[in-house]
Symmetry: C2
């Protein structure tokens, strides 16, 4: 045998331990159930694609961060860096087999060789849902409704989906004569929450906007009213003179009305002029999920409408609207709000092994308690009882059961330390349900 | 804009379409529920590892098939080719944080650059569960019980877990004086099902076994009796004179007794002398999941006991026992047995969009029916009613609902073609539940 190899993971990569993986899976299942309740189906695409399919689609930064290499057959291949470019390739490749409007979700890992920082990894999971091949308020309202339902289903307290429309923003740019400077202006607006009015003003001046345009743009984020109707009226006053601005206000008003018709509480989806999602390719509605009560928390994801998903791969024009759940921040929010407490933990049981002799009765007890819906592990070896209980503690199990030599079952509630004695598996199950 | 790029996947890779992905997910959830009911928790490990962690651990074939390359930082990295080597690295790296015996399952993609053939891909999902840090019949019986429960939970008809023990096989080799030729003999025995007695005999002769040894080995697979007790007695007669053989028979007998104590029907787990799993590193119990009624179907996975999982990475001796579910064959079996019929399909609903005008009432109806537990999509645009119904057909939805201009809801059962008229969402839900 050769020298020992150090067991280590690559820089920027990490293992997911059972408790975290279980919490993550619970979250995924809740999100998937919401997506599926709106008719979205799962897809999967390969981790590896032809490099030419991916390169140049996510900007210079993505190109630089791509894990690309020559495979055994000399093909130039790369690991996907997001789920959107593979979706575009997928829809273009399979367009004849798909029913449009096409609704899909995709939860899967992506890889980016960026500089590792706290909380950022080179491999991470993305979670996207898109509705492709439809335009208009009903489509936009569907994504917003579904997005609100995701955070609602997970029990996130105080979340708000902040909504705006790129057409309104373009109306603002046009009204102030700065359509050509869209990119720096939207980027500046996006920082309103972080740097405030004066910070944005400075950035606009640095971008070379004339003072009147700076003032015009700055009037915009502050125009939010007491409710969406007031905000939309204010937006209309600012951008209503431009065709694109009017179209944006009318569209957003119709969208918000349908979100309300779907039963989403008004507090969960709000019109917010400061949302721009400046660096993205959106053309209509744009939105972000926020936790306004947690200052500086950042967004838990967002999304918006795009004109043409797959123009690089097909002549077919495929407009769409989609959302992306920011899983890392969402997990943090759920953890901070105590919403990750596992229902499974309350049902976890160790059945001990006799210190010596035949474990048949223990294994039969475990099987019977398992049939009652508990998650039951048996200690698989004849070890000292104390060592077995230490294992149950270290693993965080909730109950321990031991078959008594004279018959009957001795139980312990490992959270309270209380003991109980019952006749059999059914008695143990009743007692544990009562305590769970 | 540059030239269009052909939307294509790499040779040996493929997309998973929504219907297949949904069926696969349903299967995964059932498997995970069984694993979790035995106290196994999920883990995840990176797709990419240091190449030195993976190279040489799966044999020459694995090394040749590995997707290995230099990353942006000049590190030599590779995509994992199985989940066992990463598990060994994981346990060695985190051994102080884990509670032993450590139970984990892992469902995830692996990559092998093998020559693509029908039904074989360069990216595929593996599904493993292992119990690490315990020896003896209780541990072996647990894995066998859980493995039987997996196929039972999925409703696979006629499956049998065929069980043997490497110590019994080693006893056979010793009794016939061919311990040194273990590899070719076990490889030959593994083909008993495929090539029959004469084929195995030829292979043993080709391997250079003397005629008496060939006869001795050939007596073995045919020794299976009417039930496990008879088979174990026959095995004892053949190998009981050797210490390892006797240990194997005693161990397997104790293991089978505990499997029965856990309530597994005797027909689901059977002692079978022909099981050897010749190419693996097993040292004790070995098993395979078979569908004996489907001739030539092949195994749906298997597993066994190993002495030392992570000796390449740590001094700590970590014996274990594990199982691997062969997802591809299992999916085929489920499909052939009609067990993939989705419960979701019976709850899928399209709510149509008015051909013109305001969709508010449709969206409110959809939301109300969704709250009743149905999977409801709205048509998101004002298209001709016929086009909307064609969409529902193409997507395979079960029901369509349309808000009547005069009030009330018109429904259609798209499987039977029958129409129904109801007052509201609650009425529609009742009617659809009745028909589902």
């Amino acid at each position: 045998m050769g020298a020992r190899i150090e067991p280590r993971t690559l820089k920027g990569f990490r293992d997911t331990m059972p408790a975290e993986a279980a919490a993550r899976n619970t979250m995924f299942r809740a999100i998937e159930a919401v997506f599926e309740s709106f008719g979205y189906g799962p897809i999967d695409t390969p981790a590896l694609e032809y490099e030419e399919v991916l390169r140049g689609k996510g900007g210079d930064e993505s190109d630089k961060q791509m894990f690309a290499f020559d495979d055994q057959g000399g093909r130039r291949v790369a690991l996907r860096f997001d789920l959107t470019v593979p979706l575009a390739r997928f829809v273009a490749e399979h367009q004849n087999a798909l029913a449009f409007p096409f609704r899909r979700y995709h939860i899967g890992p992506v890889w980016r060789g960026e500089r590792p920082q706290k909380g950022r990894y080179r491999e991470f999971v993305q979670c996207d849902a898109d509705l492709i091949g439809a335009v208009g308020p009903a489509a936009d309202a569907e994504i917003l409704t579904m997005y609100a339902r995701v955070f609602g289903a997970l029990g996130v307290e105080g979340f708000v989906i902040r909504v705006n429309d790129r057409r309104i923003l373009n109306g603002l740019l046009e009204a102030n004569g700065v359509l050509e400077q869209a990119a720096p202006v939207l980027r500046a607006l996006d920082k309103w929450d972080k740097v405030g009015r004066e910070g944005v003003a400075q950035e606009l001046r640095d971008a070379g906007l004339p003072p009147a345009a700076v003032e015009g743009v700055l009037a915009f984020p502050g125009c939010a009213g007491a409710d969406d109707a007031a905000t939309l009226a204010a937006l209309e006053r600012i951008v209503g003179a431009t065709a694109r601005g009017r179209e944006g206000v009318d569209g957003l008003r119709a969208t918000m009305r349908l979100v309300a018709a779907a039963g989403v509480p008004a507090a969960q989806v709000r019109v917010d002029p400061t949302i721009a999602r400046g660096l993205d390719y959106y053309t209509g509605v744009v939105f972000e999920a926020a936790l306004p009560s947690a200052t500086g928390f950042g967004s838990m994801g967002g999304g918006g409408r795009y004109d043409d998903l797959a123009s690089l791969y097909t002549n077919t024009k495929l407009p769409g609207v989609g959302c992306s759940v920011g899983l890392t921040r969402l997990l943090v929010a759920l953890e901070e709000q105590g919403k990750l407490a596992s229902a499974a933990a309350a049902r976890s049981v160790l059945v001990t092994h006799p210190e010596s002799g035949d474990p048949t009765a223990s294994i039969a007890l475990a099987a019977a308690v398992r049939r009652e819906g508990f998650l039951v592990e048996t200690f698989p070896e004849p070890k000292k009882h104390g060592a077995q209980m230490k294992f149950a503690d270290k693993k965080g199990l909730r109950f321990a059961l031991t078959v008594e030599p004279a018959g009957g079952v001795h139980g312990k509630d490992l959270r309270t330390g209380e003991a109980f004695d019952v006749r059999d598996a059914a008695g143990a199950a009743d007692e544990m349900r009562r305590r769970a």
